[in-house]
């Protein structure tokens, strides 16, 4: 079979990076669709404006959504235990995301097909939920990962979650939910500025400024909270040269300040929170600039920085167990076999650049401003 070009340890680090790339790819693309959905009822004050807002994401949202599907499938393939433990432990939260996602296909496709105002208003709020709910719940889930989740394995590696759904909605997790909602709203607002004109664009300027400042504030508060009040985790013993992926063989301790250890050991990692904060500030500053693309780049950088901050704080932990720290899942031991990681790496290295290339081409073809007139002209096609 295919030769192992890379050793297991290297592949494990590469896969941590690749899952990061896919999750960030999701946030940068489908993230603005969600932000636009969350802003729809507020920035669009009449039917024409709302149709313009929906039309700005209509040609590309389906491709964007695939980032979520692919990130999910890649976690399934590369970190099967994380996939199992996270989706199962966060059962109700995951279904909430799913039900909210159902709002989008019919909302985007069918809203304009019936002129009745009640029909359209119902879909506007459905699209709001389709954007705001997943954006918030993903953050709440990350907030719980940072605090550790009460789960354990038995000797056959069966997972049992011992927490409750309401326990997931704790204050720190809700703050993380605000960070993720805020950052996707700011990214969505920056996208709307690029695609629209006039009144809609003017309101998007405001939305961008306030969401960027709000995100920045919540993110900074979250940082202090992690430093002062959230216990991190650390591996204190790892079986030497363990090649089989078995998360039960290590010893783990938890304690205050441990989520900051990576930043002192590797100071360059401070770049991530710095970019998260700095780029959000730049985006707020650029919110009324006549040029729209720089602010969109800034929000993209900020989103990237914020996600990387969460990942780097926890590295190598992916899903710590608060009740049985030794059951914690890490990038070293919750992974697929050497063989699978190698094959999936080849698949992703070959395919992802092609995907990014044709996605870029499609965005180029549909480039340009969306106006009430252009929506009416294109109506019969959809």
């Amino acid at each position: 079979m295919s030769p192992m070009l890379l050793d297991y340890e290297t592949l494990k680090i590469i896969w941590w990076l690749l899952i990061g790339v896919l999750l960030i790819g999701f946030a940068l693309t489908d993230g603005f669709d969600m932000g636009v959905g969350a802003l729809l009822p507020f920035i669009g004050r009449n039917d024409d404006e709302r149709r313009v807002i929906i039309a700005s994401i209509k040609p590309t949202w389906e491709g964007n959504q695939v980032w979520l599907v692919t990130a999910g499938a890649a976690i399934f393939a590369a970190w099967p235990l994380v996939y199992a433990a996270a989706f199962y432990s966060f059962y109700a939260a995951m279904l909430l995301i799913l039900f909210a996602l159902f709002m989008r296909p019919l909302g985007i496709e069918s809203r304009s097909k019936i002129p009745d105002p009640r029909w359209r208003s119902a879909w506007d709020w459905a699209l709001f939920a389709g954007g705001a709910v997943p954006a918030t719940v993903f953050g709440v889930a990350f907030g719980n990962l940072l605090q550790g989740v009460p789960f354990q394995f038995d000797s056959t590696m069966r997972i049992t979650y011992t927490g409750t759904f309401l326990a997931l909605l704790n204050p720190f997790a809700l703050l993380c939910g605000l960070v993720s909602l805020g950052m996707l709203v700011m990214h969505g607002a920056a996208f709307l500025r690029v695609k629209t004109t006039g009144e809609v664009q003017r309101r998007a300027n405001h939305a961008l400024r306030w969401s960027a400042l709000g995100t920045l504030a919540c993110f900074v508060i979250g940082g202090f909270w992690v430093a002062a009040g959230i216990d991190g985790y650390r591996i204190i013993a790892m079986p030497a040269g363990a090649s089989a992926a078995n998360p039960l063989l290590k010893q783990v301790e938890s304690g205050a300040g441990l989520w900051l250890v990576n930043y002192t050991s590797y100071p360059w990692t401070m770049l991530a929170p710095a970019v998260g904060i700095g780029a959000a500030a730049v985006a707020a500053w650029l919110a009324t600039s006549p040029r729209t693309v720089p602010a969109f780049v800034a929000t993209g950088c900020s989103v990237t920085g914020i996600i990387l901050t969460a990942g780097l704080s926890m590295f190598p932990f992916l899903m710590p167990s608060s009740s049985h720290p030794a059951s914690s899942l890490t990038a070293w031991d919750a992974v697929s076999s050497h063989h699978t990681l190698m094959i999936m790496l080849v698949a992703i290295v070959v395919c992802l650049p092609v995907v990014i290339a044709y996605t870029g081409w499609v965005y180029r073809v549909v480039r340009g401003k969306v106006t009430a007139q252009s929506v009416r002209d294109g109506e019969h096609l959809y």
């Binding site: 099967p80 995951m94 089989a244 076999s337 995907v355």
Partner: protein, 521 residues
Amino acid sequence: MPSADVVELSRLQFGLTALYHFLFVPLTLGLSWLLVIMESVYVMTGKPVYKDMTQFWGKLFGINFAMGVTTGITLEFQFGTNWAYYSHYVGDIFGTPLAIEGLVAFFLESTFVGLFFFGWERLSKVGHLAVTFLVAFGSSLSALWILIANAWMQNPVGAEFNPDTMRMELTSVSELIFNPVAQVKFVHTAAAGYVTAASFVLGVSSWYLLRRKNVGFALRSFAIAAGFGLASTLSVIVLGDESGYATGESQKVKLAVIEAEWETQKPPASFTVFGFPNQEAERTDYAIRIPYLMGIIATRSFDQPVMGIKDLKADHQKRIENGMIAYGALQELRSGEQSQKTRELFENQKRDLGYGLLLKKFAPRVVDATPAQIHQAVEESIPRVAPIFWSFRIMVGCGLTLLLLFVLAFYYCARRSVIERVWLLRFALWTMPLPWIAAELGWIVAEYGRQPWTISEILPTHLSASSLDPAQVYFSLAGFFTFYTVLLIIEVWLMLKYIKLGPASLGTGRYHGESGAPAKA
């Protein structure tokens, strides 16, 4: 272990949401290629009616496509939420085709589908045709990778159990991809999707023709659907036979259950056309049989037997007993007793480990199972016969009816007298539900027929589920039921609205119901 309630509720939820997903998938698979054909004719002839056809059927395609995509995410989520132990046990293999599907196929179809609608003014004719082609190609490629994953559940090749990680691990990606079951499943399923779309276009066109609306438009659509449908139906039926052959190799149980074959017959075995399977008495009442037929289909020979259910059970009993030994050795290995002897014992028996796991439902410690418990596990190693027996026969009946429809439709198209054959138009209209019925029943045969396993002979269904509380699954089932019902009503209503509007919805001024349009365009 998850409670029996949770297992049954999770099965119900996965089954219903998968069947729901497959209401949309076949139409996407087939309609995308019909759009490619229609648009190719437009590019070659330059006749605007073919562009109108592409855009009108494309509109219906668009309403359907997005629903197919989103209901597919449901299935991906459920592997984690409801089948966490499954995800752990086989994620090393099963996740790979799912992820590759996203990368090579799902991105392709979903990224270009937007350009199909918005690219008409922005791309050259050939450029737009290329976009339509990529959507169709991406859809079928997506089906291929998903069916590679599914085929691995039916016929788990290229993988091995690792006692250190307590899971199955990939040993050969080429065996996974070139799984013979995957190949036949893909051709059979994709062609079934093509039939569904052809029957859809044929039926809707017939409705226009019966009302003498948009006659030129409808006749051209009818003709393309008739040709495409005939070719596709022949493929489904011919390759359905292939599907039976592959089943004979890798899933003897499913074949025996489809045929309600209780005893191994002297080869070549006869085919039971009709009868009433009686599971308790292990016989089929009032059976009507065609001699030799099944043996020839399933084994491609006159001298190889097709195993009957009673013999399969005897075989399962032996494998369950071996599985107890394998499970005992595995437990010693997992508790740290790593001697050469235990390793060897485990290696020798591990191909029957899955059969040992079947016992967990009746004897949680497995190694101390009583003969009565073993007997229970043996009885449960065969799925219920009657639902599968009937599903299969109704599916085949639908297929043969559709073959007749497409033969007649094609014949009268060639004779250019479709519009006078009112009975043919009604036939096409009233048979529109058949491809969906056949496709759903086909999945019931494939998946219900795989019970009691999620991964054939490797992982039993009752172990695969997450350790949830039944209340959680009731909550999600209620959510799916509510959302899916509302979405389906809206979806069908929108479809009917646009079908009734017809090509007039394009606003070209050329069609029935538009001001200034001739009565018959």
